[in-house]
Amino acid sequence: MTTRTVTRPNEAGTALVLEAGTIAAGRARGLPLRREGPDKLTGAAKYADDLVFPGAWYGATIRSTEARARLVAIEPDPMLDWSTVVLVTAADIPGDNVVSGIQDDQPVLVPVGGEIRHHAEPLALLAAPDKATLRRFKAAVKVVTEVLPPVFDPEASDHVFAHYEIGTGDLQAGFAEAHIVLEGEYRVGHQEQLYIEGQAMIAVPGEAGEIAVHGSLQCPYYVHKALMRSLGLDARQARVVQAETGGAFGGKEEYPSIIAVHAALLASKCGKPVRMIYDRHEDIAATTKRHPAIVRHRTGVTRDGRLVAQDIEVIMDGGAYCTLTPVVLSRGALHSGGPYRCPNVRIRARATRTNTPPNGAFRGFGAPQTEFAAETQLNRLAEQLVMSPAEIRARNVYAIGDTTPTGQVLKESVAGEEVLRLAVEGSNFERIRDETAHELGERRGANVMPPGPLRTTLDRTATGIGLALAWHGAGFTGSGEVHLGSVASVELDAEGRIRVLIASTEMGQGTKTIFPMLVAAELGVPVDAVEVAPQDTAFVPDSGPTVASRTAMVVGGLCIDAARRLKAEVERDNPDRTFADLYVDHGKTKGPTRIDQKFEPYPGITFDDETYRGDAYPAFGWAAAVARVEIDLDTAEVSVKEVLAVDDVGKVIHPILCEGQVEGGTLQAVGYATIEEMKLQDGRYLNDRLATYLIPTALDAPQIRTILVEAPFSGAPHGAKGVGELPMDVGAPAVVAAIADAVGVWITDLPATPEKILAALADAGGPPRRGRVSAA
C-alpha cells in the first residue's frame, strides 16, 4: 500500500509537506487560492437572496398545522380582493403533482380531499407584489381539515419504505465461539443541517412558457427533472441556475426541488419572477433532517478480542415521505458493522413512515447513525475485556484481502490500520488514557459526594479521552454510479480558452478551485488558465448530483480523462510541441474542441442490488478520531477540548480545502454528539429556531488537528476517494467514548446532554455501570 501522510505546517508555518521531496513555503502559498474567495470576502458574491429581478413578487407557502389530517377545503377570505395576488393549489399544477424522487409518494401540494402527512406540509402557495400584502393575504387563507390519528413511533409504523438483510457466515456458530456476548441499544435523533444561508429559490418565467429558476442548491439536474415533471416542461423550457450557495451538507440535495417547483408554479401563474426565500423558522420547521435511528447490537467476541458474531438491527425513521430514505438506510446498513472483519454477521435494516416532516440527506447519509452505534458497542466490548480501545480495533480492523458482509473482497486502498495507528500515536492515546483512568479511580475511591463515585471535594471537572474508527464507502452505493452515467466535459473554445463543464456545485467545499487544478495539471497549463462554466443546466452536462463525496472522486476523474483526451487531440499533429504551446492557436484556428467524458464502470466492481452481494462501494475512505473532553462534575456539561482527526481520502488535491472539510465535519459531529437535539411534540419540531436549536460556536469548538492520509483508489485516475462525509462518522462516538472515559458511564442516546449524563450517573450509583453481558 502506498500511504502518504500529509502533515500540517509546523508551528513556524514554514513547511507544508505535499509530496515526498516537495516542500511549499508558507500557508496557501504554492497552492491556488479559493477561486470565488475574493467575491465572498468582499460581499460581491451573489447568493439567491442577493439577486435582483425587477418587478419580482414574493412567494409564501401555506402549511399544515397538523401531523395527519384530511384536507377538506382551502378557503380564501371572501372579504379580500384576491385578484391582486396569486393563490396556487394542487388544482393549478399543470404536470404531475409529485415531487420527483425515488418513489412518487410526495405531492407538490396536498390536493383537497388528500391526506396531510406531516406538520408544515405545503398545502397552497401565495404570491404578492410586496411582503406586507403577502402577510395579510396569507393570514386570510383558511384551511379546513379533518384530523386523523398520527403515527410517531417508527417501530410501530406498518408502512415500510425499504428493508434490507445482509448476512454472511453462521451467526449461531459465531455466538457459540464467543467468550463474551454483549447487547446494546443505541438511539440517535434528528439533526438539522443548519446551513447558514436558508433555502432560497427564485423562479423567472419566460415569454414562451419556459421557466428559469435561480437558487441555493446542490443538484441542478434534480431540480431540472422536478421542474419538467410538475410544470410539464421539456428539457429546454426548464432551466436551473445555481446561485452562490451558503452551505448545504445534504440539506439542499432533494428539498430544493420542492421549492423550485413551488416558485415556478407561482411565477407561471402571475407572470412575474417570484422569490421564495425561507426564513430560518420555516426552514427548520419544514425541511429535511438527518434520520433518527434505533440500532441494536448483539455482538460475540473471543477472550482475545476477536469479533466472531455481529447481529445488528437498524430502524430508521423516514418521516412522512420516502425522499432518499432507501439509499440512506442502505448506506447505514452497509456501514453498521463498522470497519471490522467478522466471519458471522447478520444485518437487518428497515425504514418506516411516520407523521413527522420527511428526513433526508445529511453529510454521512445514514453512516454516522450506525457507526456511532458500532463504535460505542465496540468500546463497551473493550471495557468488558479490559482491553484498550486501540487494541481491540487493531485486532479487528479490515486489512487488504478481508471480506465484508456483502462478500466484497477489499483488494486495495485499505488504510484502517494506518489511520488508527496515526490517531493513537498522534494523540498519545494510551498514556493519556492511563492518566484519566487513574483520575477516575481516585474519584471513585474517594466516594465523597453524590454522585458518589465521581465527585470529590477537590475535583470540579473530569477529563477523558475517546477513540473511534470508521470506514465510509466512496461515492454512490452499489450500482448507483453506473445507472447515473454522468457526463463531464472539458472544452477548448474558439478564443483559445479552456473551460470545465460540470453540474457539480460549489457550496463551500472547493469545487471551483480543485477542478481547474486537476485539469491544469493534466494539460500542463497554469491553474488560472482553466475556467469553470457556471452551474446552469443551459450550459453544463449532467455530471450527476453534488452528493456522496463523489465530486472529487468521480467527476474529478472524468475531467482528468477528458483533459487527457483534449491534450492528445491538440498535440496530435504537433508531437514535438506541448499542449501549453499549442492550445491558444489551436482553438483560434481550428475552432472549438469539446470532450464529453461519460462515466464507465470501475473495472472489476460489481454489485447486485437484489441480493446485496458484491462490491457495495468501489473503495472506502478510512477515518479515526481521538477526542478529549472535560466534564463539569456539578452540571455534567461537556466541553470537547481537542479532536485529532485522521482521514484517508485517497488523494489530497488541495491540502487546505481538504483540511477545511475535515475540520468542519468534525465540528458537526461534535455538535451531533453533545448539543444538537431536535425536540418534537405531536410531530412538530419544538425548537425550530436558531435561538433554540443550538450549533457549536467558536467557544464550543475544540482545537481540531488534522492528519491527512493518502491510500489511493486505482479506479480514479488521481486516486481520490472523497472527503466531505468521512469526519462525520467518527466524531460522535469518539466524544461519547471520552465522556465514558471521564465519568464511567456510556451514553447510548445522542446527543449526550448534561441531563442524560447526570441521569446515567445517578443510575450507575456506586459501581461503574456495566452493559448487559452474558458470559458464554
Partner: protein, 161 residues
C-alpha cells in the same frame, strides 16, 4: 415621515423609511449593499454583523431610527482603501490564505466581528479571538481556520490591529 441620515462606509446615506425598518433591510434592499447577509433574523447567527460606531451589532436587530447620525461599516467598506490597489485588505487576505471562508455566507459578518476585535486592540490569543467571534456562527469550517486568519493579522500588526 422624515428621512434618516447616516454614514455607510464613509459615504453619506439618506433613507425615507419607517423608523422600525431593520438596518439589515435598509442596507440590503434600500442601499443595495447585499454583502451583509441574513441567517436567522433574530440575532443568533451573526451573519448580518456590521460595525456601528465601532461596535459590532446584528443589523437584523437594529431599527434604522437608532442609526440616525451614526457611522456604519459593512463588508463592502472593509477593503475600500485596498481596493484602489486592486487587492483585498490584510484581514480578507488572511481569510483567503488560511481557508477561513468556505461557503462564504457567514464570512461578511465574521470579517466585521474580526475587524472590530482587531480595531479594539485584539491580540492573537486563541481564546480572545474565539470570544470575539462567538456571536458569529459558521457551519463549514469548524472555526479553526477563521481563528488562524484573525491571529495571523493580529500577530502581524503587533497588539493593536
Amino acid at each position: 415621515m422624515s428621512g434618516y441620515r447616516f454614514l455607510v462606509n464613509g459615504a453619506p446615506a439618506e433613507v425615507d423609511v419607517p423608523g422600525m425598518r431593520r438596518l439589515l433591510d435598509v442596507l440590503r434592499e434600500d442601499l443595495g449593499l447585499t454583502g451583509t447577509k441574513e441567517g436567522c433574523g433574530e440575532g443568533e447567527c451573526g451573519a448580518c454583523s456590521v460595525i456601528l460606531d465601532g461596535q459590532v451589532v446584528d443589523a437584523c436587530l437594529v431599527p434604522i431610527a437608532q442609526v440616525e447620525g451614526r457611522i456604519v461599516r459593512t463588508v463592502e467598506g472593509l477593503s475600500l482603501a485596498a481596493r484602489e490597489r486592486g487587492a483585498l485588505d490584510a484581514l480578507q487576505e488572511a481569510f483567503l490564505e488560511t481557508g477561513g471562508a468556505q461557503c462564504g455566507i457567514c464570512t461578511p459578518g465574521m470579517l466585521m466581528a474580526a475587524r472590530a476585535y482587531l480595531d479594539g486592540g485584539g491580540t492573537d490569543d486563541d481564546e480572545s479571538i474565539r470570544e470575539a467571534i462567538a456571536g458569529n456562527l459558521c457551519r463549514c469550517t469548524g472555526y479553526t481556520k477563521i481563528v488562524e486568519a484573525i491571529a495571523l493579522v493580529a500577530g502581524a500588526s503587533g497588539t493593536a490591529g
